[in-house]
Symmetry: C2
Subunit: 191 residues, 2 copies
Amino acid sequence: MQFLEEQILKYGKICPHSVLKVDSFLNHQVDVSIVTELANAIYDHYKDSGVTKILTVESSGIPLACMTASAFKVPFIFAKKKRTINLSDQVFKSAVHSYTTGKYSEIMISAEYLGKDDKVLIVDDFLAKGSALRALIEIVEDSGATLVGTAVAIEKGFQGGGDMLRKEGFKVYSLSIIDKMTESKIIFRGD
Amino acid sequence: MQFLEEQILKYGKICPHSVLKVDSFLNHQVDVSIVTELANAIYDHYKDSGVTKILTVESSGIPLACMTASAFKVPFIFAKKKRTINLSDQVFKSAVHSYTTGKYSEIMISAEYLGKDDKVLIVDDFLAKGSALRALIEIVEDSGATLVGTAVAIEKGFQGGGDMLRKEGFKVYSLSIIDKMTESKIIFRGD
């Protein structure tokens, strides 16, 4: 999506260890007009799939999930990283592997909000190794709901998670795919 | 706001220790059509105040902040509870007191996203003792920005935080104020 690539080139900051900071518009400060454009593109891609729920994980997936849910006119759920008083006793849970810390952490949703009649679209801001998406996919599978597909704003193609998921047959719609990142340059797939 | 009071009576669940669960539409599963109505009411209330930024804290404030920012056509920032790679070295930070755990925890935002030219509206889902709002107010004051006011979906009036803030001169706009909650009944202010 050329629009997003332009925003990344304009506002993104390349940091050490292949970190791309887009916190001026996507995941700390949020430019809702930009996120709305991204959500509309996701809607266009999946609009004929009968989506009944959007699923993401707190916190940085929430803005994109919110605007995507608004476009689809369906609710969204954000999986929690901590058990809070707001969670039911019955949860669907899964583990996310962090490549930064090397640790696994649990994410969970109240079981009452996902069931076999749901058609779920998973949305997140970033896709690198794919661990968060895999954990969300596992939650959808456990719930008995149908997974329609996944959508992310920025895929770090060079970390391989997206292509691995595609190879396994999952639908991964990325609004931008970065195939190479150096200290001074970002190369998008198709460039 | 009668619309929100109706949603609370319809979907809210009263739990022990004065916990009101509204996680079917506000802060776990999110009904964006409801949240949009709430955001529009906040916009109506503050639309002539020259708001340039919306500020909230992760995670459950994000959906309402997102739709409110969309109504105002301004960006929003969500304060983080953990220092992540997405945060700058320069941050504005403050401490939130949890009445559940008795502990203080830090919240922070990158300093570059708030400055003296900003007019800030603070938004959150719940207001009980007021600790989160106070922490966000402190961040706004530290940044040199002007605080326009605060807005929350549900104020637990019986916990006193909102009235205390009002007494100190802060603008607190609550879309619903619960003055009493028993095991089976919710009494809203003005009922």
